[in-house]
Assembly symmetry: C2
Homo-oligomer: 192 residues x 2
DNA sequence: CCAAGAATACGCTACGTTGCGTCTCGTTGA
DNA sequence: TCAACGAGACGCAACGTAGCGTATTCTTGG
């Protein structure tokens, strides 16, 4: 499934790790500056100082390269992990605030928009994007909080998460202004 | 702003309405079968039996043509209007159910995914897509319901709508299975 | 033990294809 | 009469594939 990862050890020259790193770095850099749809394989190859065929040898599409770049953590900062202070509402609010804060910095909204577009065309990117935004921790925390009685026991976990991330995605897509209370309001809205 | 609409009355031949209709119909048909990123101006022209220049004369981009096709109602059925029985929760549930139902029919999820992708790259398409999904009625109804005390008076209208549509978009993007209670759960979650 | 050989990755260059957006052409129609 | 139309050629960019010579690495056999 995940392309571009280590090959089984056989004869012949080994895969060049430096080429792989250069490709991912070039992808991250070009993606950030030009966006997903202006990203080209030839552009990546040129920026990375690598032959086009070296990309095609290991990845089947632009989306695959982007997905792996995302996995490698070169596209989004790692700061979107959900904090764990024991207070779910506070943690969620902080998490949303860091996301909205990121969206508010100039140039970042188009980056997320581009990532959503990439996710629309490539499920692998979608899954990795969810991961990068902290969806898995979200699931665990909300489920546990419901079980522990910290929030309404019948909270529909899946729907809550989709509404949360969906709201963030919509903000990015529409570029709607970020009200200062958005994070608090959203958490209050969704966690009763 | 809205391209492709009436020209100022001058000398010479008038704009061909049949060409315009053929272009929009071809766009709708190709979009539905091949998706947004495989949609090409040359393909539309060929399918419509029209010269490429006739498209470029009236629209500036692929996105513009798609946006107008959306306005014309040729891409999405008109059935996503929010019903008005006086009971907001019931109306929202019905609205969500028709959306989720549409998403569940084979071939429709990719259509929405493609539309989201188109919206990501073209704000005009985004705005029209919101319209087609009934966002404006949503705003009015939720605001009125809050004012009338039918729902919590402090309901953050903008956040609620973004969470609602965002949840639908996430379903389409992730292709997650549609649980039968999803609509009810979502409405209960957001409207307390 | 170590050279020969096989297998593979790499950079490079070139090719045919597709779609872009622009630009003439005659022709047609209000 | 003159702009809109169809047809289609043009240069450009990027696609994905192929073949080349070179470098690297494992396997084999004298």
């Amino acid at each position: 499934m995940t392309e571009g990862t280590a090959a089984p050890r056989r004869r012949g020259a080994a895969r060049s790790e430096s080429a792989r790193r250069a490709i991912l770095a070039a992808t991250a850099s070009l993606f950030a500056t030009r966006g997903y749809d202006h990203l080209t394989i030839e552009g990546i190859a040129a920026e990375a100082g690598v032959a086009k065929q070296t990309i095609y040898r290991w990845w089947s599409s632009k989306g695959s390269v982007v997905a792996e770049t995302l996995i490698e953590g070169e596209l989004l900062p790692g700061r979107f992990a959900l904090p764990d202070t024991g207070n779910l509402r506070a943690d969620l609010t902080a998490w949303l605030e860091s996301l909205f804060g990121f969206l508010g910095e100039p140039g970042n909204a188009p980056l997320i928009t581009s990532l959503v577009s990439a996710a629309a065309g490539n499920p692998d990117v979608g899954a990795r994007l969810d991961d990068s935004l902290g969806a898995s921790e979200l699931t665990i925390r909300i489920r546990d909080a419901a079980a522990a009685g910290e929030i309404w026991a019948d909270t529909p976990v899946q729907e809550t998460i989709e509404a949360l991330i969906g709201a963030v995605v919509m903000r990015a897509l529409r570029g709607s202004p970020l009200t200062p209370d958005a994070s608090q309001d959203l958490v209050r809205l969704l966690l009763r």
